[in-house]
């Protein structure tokens, strides 16, 4: 499906689209407040970007170092080329331990690999324990945001969902009450789980440890009670040194939600006493991204979601309109890398305003990468022919000045003289909700000729002062 079509559906419900926009803008505003309280913010961004670029340029060595150190701490490291292998590895580990019930904290990687349905097909009960994730899991929908998975849902809808699945009071909508219902429900799940699975926010090559950040404490509960902990990470989660965490933990929560740090930033080094720790390192197309000079920078992403919160398109079109695990600006870079044909419309779901680039804590030039994607898509023939044809035509006209002038005159004449129904026809997307600009009788170049007389043509070298129009009538001074 095309993003524009799904977005138009979302926008059609205007009050809801406004509500969604306002909710996310609120988070963006909190982010602004948090970052403007740190004078070194831009230095932090620079530093984080440089650390990530360095890591990417030494990724193989750092992965090996990480594996060595993690193994020395008693963890078992697994490698998966793709989603299928990742899922298989997780299932194998679970089966070896006779696990029937698994609790999971938020992991966009497992979403990307569609781990839940896979495990469920193989008889494992999977419970997402992040409240937002649990809500969308009960609703049988994918998350619409990577940090706030249920940001698209209203409390009334969540109340209804909880009433149906968790026996909460009918008609209850109070977030405090609903969160308490979820707390009781999930405590039960934590208590009976045979294993816990987490994502990884940062993996440290130097120490072989990794960090998981949550606000709810669900990752920690999920892996501190059962004996088995599985952590799944993309190859890009690596950083070289423990002290680099200082940079990233300062950036992550401030960018994501405007908090100074998440409530829990847990550092796992080896399994807990008497337990087992398995780390699954996943490629799933990432090494291909590494190959591309243009898009390599997107591997710096720390999944804070700031680009979504600030994106004027995401805020008004909702996360599901992207049909990708990671929606919004960064998702629009990652998705076509996997399947350009399917996701060709995402790089166009962007007004190129550049706000994403400026909020990005690791300085990914997101909007320029989206522009580059458009070029890639055009080069590889993924653009609809209408677009290609109209651009070719425009180029031909604009290359030839007299033709441009002629077409301009004809166009303006048509706008002035054609009946309204003809101008505002069904194919005129501009005119659906907007008036076309006025069509003046004469263009600027014609008027200029009248007002200022002589003009210069290219090729003749300009004579300074020769065509001066800046005479002494000037009434302002220049300093």
């Amino acid at each position: 499906m095309n993003h524009a079509t799904l977005a138009a559906e979302f926008v059609r419900n205007r009050p809801r689209a406004h509500w969604h926009d306002t909710a996310l803008w609120f988070v963006r505003a909190k982010r602004d407040k948090a970052v403007h309280s740190l004078p070194e913010w831009e230095t932090l961004r620079e530093t984080a970007s440089a650390i990530k670029l360095h890591t990417i340029s030494h990724l193989a060595e750092y992965l090996e170092q990480f594996e060595r150190q993690a193994t020395a701490l008693g963890a078992t490291v697994h490698w998966a080329c793709d989603a299928a292998e990742h899922n298989q590895i997780v299932l194998d580990i679970l089966r070896q331990h006779g696990v029937k019930k698994l609790v999971k904290s938020k992991s966009m990687l497992t979403e990307e690999c569609h781990l839940n349905p896979y495990l469920e097909r193989h008889g494992i009960e999977v419970t997402d324990t992040d409240l937002g994730e649990r809500i969308v899991q009960l609703d049988r929908k994918p998350p619409s945001h990577i940090v706030m998975p249920a940001i698209h849902m209203k409390k009334e809808e969540i109340g209804e969902l909880f009433h149906k699945h968790l026996q909460s009071a009918a008609g209850a909508t109070d977030p405090q009450y609903l969160a308490e219902v979820a707390r009781q429900h999930l405590r039960h799940k934590f208590m009976e789980a045979d294993a816990g699975l987490t994502g990884v926010n940062f993996a440290v090559a130097e120490t072989g440890g990794f960090v998981v950040c949550t606000n709810e404490g669900n990752a920690d509960l999920g892996v501190s009670l059962p004996k088995l902990h599985i952590a799944c990470m993309g190859i890009e989660k690596l950083i070289p040194r423990a002290k680099d965490l200082g940079v990233f933990l300062r950036l992550l929560a401030r960018s994501a939600t405007g908090q100074p740090i998440t409530a829990y930033s847990s550092h796992f080094h080896g399994p807990r006493l008497g337990g087992e720790l398995h780390i699954v390192i996943v490629d799933n197309g990432r090494s291909q991204l590494l190959a591309s000079g243009e898009f390599r920078g997107s591997l710096k992403c720390i999944r804070c979601g700031a680009c979504m919160n600030t994106c004027p398109v995401y805020r008004r079109s909702g996360g599901h309109s992207y049909e990708n695990t990671v929606p919004g600006p960064i998702g629009s870079i990652l998705a076509p890398a996997r399947d350009p044909q399917h996701y060709y419309s995402l790089p166009y779901a962007c007004s190129l305003c550049g706000s994403c680039t400026d909020v990005c804590p690791v300085k990914i030039d997101i909007h320029h990468q989206l522009l580059t994607w458009r070029r890639e898509l055009a080069v590889h023939g993924h653009l609809p022919w209408t677009k290609r044809f109209s651009m070719k035509l425009a180029s031909i006209v604009l290359r030839t000045t007299w033709l441009y002038g002629l077409m301009g005159n004809m166009g303006r004449w048509a706008l002035r003289n054609f009946p309204r129904w003809l101008v505002y026809n069904r194919l005129n997307a501009w005119g659906r909700q907007r008036e076309l600009p006025p069509a003046p009788r004469r263009s600027f170049r014609q008027l200029y000729q009248e007002h200022y007389g002589r003009t210069t043509t290219a090729g003749t070298s300009p004579q300074p002062g020769g065509n001066s129009v800046g005479d002494s009538q000037s009434s302002t001074s220049r300093h």
Partner: protein, 205 residues
């Protein structure tokens, strides 16, 4: 330790690493992290300000005895049926942790008083580990948590924090900043998601 991976997964390891090696861009420098990072004139005051903003309670006391009596004023503590304290002189334990080996048994604990190693002024985070508390689940499963923080053990920022931390053995550590919380329902902040419903920090000294 678990058994080694089956050979097909080892193949994947080689495949991934060689794909990375063949695509790896030219090396760039690793920054030193040397910078004039933010510092605060009054670190405890900054810590207290941030802690309050993120939903925690700040109690500044001269000594353990004062902390103990301040603890007695906290309703959650007074109403608690099962209490564990691991800090000498602060709080009265009525559950003996030495008899517990399964962390699931910690579920009914209402209140825990535990010690924090050091705090960070910029974000009110407190570093805790499982070095002296092998059942690390206690930090997260208890209904109400109090952490005791020596006033002299507050650093300015996260860079200083990591200068203190050495990760040279199998150990769990976490920064805890405020009580557990969620805003997953319409961005309304709810304190007490899955972890502790409250966090009181006793800053001693």
């Amino acid at each position: 330790m678990a058994e080694p991976q089956p050979p097909e997964h080892r193949r994947s390891r080689e495949e991934i690493l060689s794909a990375i090696r063949s695509h790896q861009p030219p090396g760039t420098e690793l920054p030193t992290l040397e910078h004039q990072w933010i510092t605060y004139v009054d670190r405890p005051a900054q810590f207290a300000k941030v802690l309050t903003e993120i939903g925690g309670q700040w109690v500044r006391v001269p000594d353990a005895a004062a902390a103990h009596s301040a603890l007695g004023e906290i309703p959650a503590y007074r109403e608690a049926k099962q209490i564990i304290s691991r800090v000498l002189g602060i709080g009265n334990s009525n559950v003996d942790l030495t008899n517990i080996s399964d962390p699931h048994a910690l579920e009914p604990i209402d209140f825990a008083v535990l010690s924090g190693e050091f705090g960070v002024a910029e974000n009110a985070a407190i570093w805790v580990t499982d070095r002296n508390l092998p059942l690390r689940a206690l930090y997260f499963i208890v209904q109400h948590l109090a952490l005791v923080l020596p006033a002299g053990e507050i650093v300015d920022n996260m860079h200083q924090a990591y200068e203190r931390l050495k990760f040279n053995r199998a150990e769990f550590g976490a920064f805890i900043a405020g009580p557990s919380k969620t805003a997953d329902i319409e961005q309304s902040l709810v304190i007490g998601a899955h972890g502790s419903r409250s966090l009181t920090v006793f800053c001693v000294g």
